[in-house]
Symmetry: C2
Subunit: 429 residues, 2 copies
């Protein structure tokens, strides 16, 4: 148990950037400070799987010289090990790809580096960010609990201060869930607004690049470097926030209900009313439709490995290729058509609202490391292609983080971040 | 003008495979024969941009020893230069990526190689398979005409016999159009059934791996190696074929109308009635919706290059990043919702039909090399995620190829290939 640990001795993204621009900090020092956290905690927490300090130090020194540098000059960034990186291996947590060394960076990695970020390490992932081997990462707040997945290492790295930013992905619940379990902020943007080039695909009509930081302004800084904006401008009005229980409310454990009550109370204290909303009718099959597409498209994702290494491929991945769930063409058509219709209906249901407050996770991180927890409150939003942000702050009776989630209509990413910033301020009281 | 040229002195896929299995041919000899075609014609036609014969020869010799080899043992394959290959550069026809050398194969390339295929070369492409520089490839049947794009080199390589198979892609009309202009068979499968891993993304909700060969049985052999099957079994009934003009019929030039009349007449002679069908109501914005998504998602595709090389990036690609078409969030939502609804309605409109006969291209390949022609008869099917096959056979009054197209409901790829085989036999008379 590490209830009283305070990991974050390294600065957050904008905090560090400000110190550097004020001449009170250096890119090199930032990297050294993160290195110290990694040395202290990574052996136990296992958030990062590939690190090359000498190389990172060279990049940090370069950024120290680069006075006309970008918006992320000197920011150490951890990258989930499903994104190609030119300077570190990319192995997907797959024994079949041990030692794999791409020669180029994934587009989103390249974008952060082009803005001045420094690659500090690759973060542990569930195999292929899908259904294979879990990461060895433990939850920083209780080593007997899962950090969540599949972006396990990304969440733990940001939670401990190994890096102020980590890139993640979400096809089901792989960004929002681990962030909520580890007590960090995270964003899963609208589908299609960030390039997936150099990301190992799982289900292309769902795969989304996400990221984690310590707070909303830092999330926005990353969104900016990834050119999520210019999308539609934020609306500028007073925040109009709905409270949406989802069709899966019965899965919400007491600590998640408490987290949402806490958030509503804090918002009320800040003068922001949160109004109960109903979703569209007939939306109780959202997760089933997302699941059908994920596994239906997953059938193609590991076919080449299946041909090359039929025996060695993880049994869960073999099940994907073999379509062990028996997903039929009719099932797939139904799932695409159902979600295709629901996306528009959800947008309409948002009329008069900027964002909805909704559960991020069923509860605190469950005990054990063999499962990464339930994505029941994430899959629907991934399937709906809507942007989602999780905010930390609440702690359960066990002193474990439980995130809350804000969602918005498709492509309203900028307005969602605006609202999330206002909510974050209200939560801080 | 090359009206009377007969390029195909090398065997087609199954033809060559049969000869090899009968001991009458070798993988090495097949490669040498293709090399001869490449030496004779590639300097003028410019279909292949990277070739390494020594390496390919090593692979062919290996396959000659590999008597327990796969279904594509010894088959030379050309790969569009937007798929990563470990043994040849992958440059996307982008000057910004000159000399780029990935260390792994794209999943679909790996699948063909795992089945025994031999990589013979990378095929010319429009820059990033999108809107940048056109390929230098010329139409093999008239060097003053475009081969079509963006899979220009793939189509020309198969048309001339440089390779019996080429991998292609389609986000708008990039597989079916060049195949039709060059007189080869091609398949664009249903969205999501072949992995896009290692393919440079343009618009992830549309990007589809396609392939070209000389005939339908060869298309099916490639589909098999790519694990498109097992999908739904072919239906087994007598072919029920509709004739669908699309909302864009006025774009069909006399030679396309003649090609379709010819096909219908041949089918009638074979005892197959082709029945006029109407599509669903309100389907006249299919291409506009596809265009909106393609450019909307294209905004993300070149952002990293835009950051790194703002001046050097092709102006058309800069326009994508800058959203020069002014695609709004509302536009994107409309396009996704419209296509989301239309996909189901088209499937329903197919009740009682196995496939629809429909134009593949407006007409023969237009004169000039600066444009790759119009994808008006392709974009809708890509947007609808439906499988499509183009068949060669018809020649215009100018003796130029004009393909016809068959389409089927989503995921009915196996049945589409069955019908295409029957149609091909009828066309041969």
């Amino acid at each position: 148990m590490n209830f009283n640990m305070n990991f974050n001795n390294t600065p957050g993204l904008l905090e560090g950037r400000k110190k550097i621009e004020a001449g009170a900090y250096s890119c090199k020092q930032w990297l050294m400070d993160c290195r110290q956290v990694i040395r202290n905690h990574n052996p136990a927490i296992k958030a990062l799987v590939h690190v090359d300090f000498d190389q990172a130090l060279g990049a940090a020194r370069e950024q120290d010289q680069n006075l006309s540098g970008g918006s992320l000059r000197g920011v150490p960034v951890a990258v989930k090990d499903v994104f190609d990186t030119a300077d570190l291996p990319t192995e997907f947590n797959s024994p079949l790809h041990r030692g794999r060394r791409p020669t180029s960076n994934a587009a989103c990695v390249e974008s952060l580096l082009a803005a001045g970020a420094v690659l500090i390490g690759k973060a542990a992932t569930v195999e292929f960010a899908s259904v294979g081997r879990v990461a060895e990462t433990v939850n920083p707040w209780d080593h007997h609990r899962t950090p969540g997945g599949s972006s396990s290492g990304s969440a733990a790295a940001v939670a401990t201060g190994m890096a102020p930013v980590a890139l993640a992905t979400q096809t089901g619940g792989s960004t929002i869930r681990p962030a909520s379990f580890c007590g960090v902020a995270a964003m899963k943007p609208s589908y299609g607004v960030v390039s997936v080039e150099g990301l190992r695909p799982y289900a292309p009509s769902l795969d989304t690049v996400g990221w984690m930081t310590r707070g909303v302004a830092d999330l926005a800084a990353v969104a900016n470097a990834l050119n999520v904006f210019p999308g539609p401008e934020p609306s500028g009005n007073a925040p109009r926030i709905g409270f949406y229980r989802t069709p899966y409310w019965e899965e919400a454990l007491p600590e998640t209900r408490a987290a949402l009550d806490w958030a509503r109370a804090r918002l009320a204290a800040a003068g922001v009313a949160v109004v109960d909303v109903d979703g569209p009718d007939n939306c109780d099959q959202l997760n089933q439709a997302q699941d059908t597409i994920m596994h239906g498209e997953g059938k193609a994702a590991y076919w080449a490995e299946y041909q090359r290494w039929p025996e060695q491929l993880h049994s869960e991945l073999r099940r994907e290729v073999e379509n062990a769930r028996g997903c039929s063409a009719a099932d797939l058509r139904w799932a695409h058509d159902y979600l295709g219709a629901m996306r528009g209906r959800f947008d309409q249901a948002f009329a008069g609202f900027d964002a909805w407050l909704t559960p991020a996770v069923p509860g605190q991180a469950p005990l054990g490391l063999s499962s990464t927890g339930d994505a029941v409150f994430n899959r629907l939003w991934t399937g709906l292609h809507m942007p989602a942000v999780t905010l930390p702050g609440f702690r359960s009776e066990d002193k474990l983080p439980v995130g809350i989630q804000l969602v918005a209509p498709r492509f309203e990413d900028a307005n969602l971040l605006r609202i999330a910033g206002l909510v974050e301020a209200a939560l801080a009281g």
